[in-house]
Symmetry: C2
Subunit: 165 residues, 2 copies
Amino acid sequence: MRLAGAAMPKPAMNFPDIAEVARRSGVPASTLRFYEDKGLIASTGRRGLRRLFDAAVFERLALIALARASGFTLEEIGTMFCADGRVAIDRAMLSAKADELDKTMRRLRAMRDGLRHAAVCRAPSHLECPTFRKLLAGAAAGTIRAPEPAVKAKKSRKARHEAGR
Amino acid sequence: MRLAGAAMPKPAMNFPDIAEVARRSGVPASTLRFYEDKGLIASTGRRGLRRLFDAAVFERLALIALARASGFTLEEIGTMFCADGRVAIDRAMLSAKADELDKTMRRLRAMRDGLRHAAVCRAPSHLECPTFRKLLAGAAAGTIRAPEPAVKAKKSRKARHEAGR
DNA sequence: GCTTGACCTCAAGTTAACTTGAAGATGTAG
DNA sequence: CTACATCTTCAAGTTAACTTGAGGTCAAGC
């Protein structure tokens, strides 16, 4: 992917600037600033105005991506890091989130089955299909509810990034 | 609260007003107005300023709830209704959404397994656990991504509603 | 020394799905 | 007829996680 050239470009390899971090992580610079602002990552210093990071930031970003994919909010993710930069994840929190995912998955599974049925059901209208009506009744009774918040991806930051913005 | 007398109370039973619809459906009046504004439901007329609905609105609301629970956006849900008020759901759309749910579930399953492992893993730090590092690598590579948008529930509208707001 | 392009800050905008609030209208009980 | 609880409209606020834009700074190349 990147030609390992002999000549090191401007920012010292071991102190990547924000553009370098963005390039290598796929996380936009604006997001990196945003994360820093939120205390999720930290720059190790500045060259003039410009932030310099160290290599640890990549692991940190991976951790954040992983946590986000698991459904943690940025705020929750913030609690996973000690002030000293060390990672200290509460195991109970992990279990709780796993339980949450299980619940979500059960809900989604039910919905998916309903959708699959509705997609092939031969009833003239969905409203006349008993399976569908059962689901509807659940929705009416409030047993069926919409999902939790989350995040949007829309076009995948990596994709947009790699497309040259 | 309201005695079921022989005399029909204010809103004719078969033309519930917005408060009645809210009460029976659990959907807040503000949401009903919002949905009407978006064209997802329709009031059948007015008594003075006040909207009157007919019984069909309950099915409609159940349908909306169901679709929302399946991950459809309100905009997508809008396409499920013809102008004449008839329901006409594109079966291909249902399949597509089912596929989407499957994808989501695969992702969530992987995350859940990772979380469960991390919760019990004996490695001194998560960063030293090979399983965890494998996930991290996935996150770094961008194969692991955050979920789709969705909706929030926070306290369940029904609960808040029934708690007398 | 000057130009330039990348970076900086800070405020405001974006999206989805609603909620909240202000100001006004009205059917209904008394 | 007067109160008043409910309704009405319309604009603006909310949340999460970012993005965008304006206006400014600065290191490096020429």
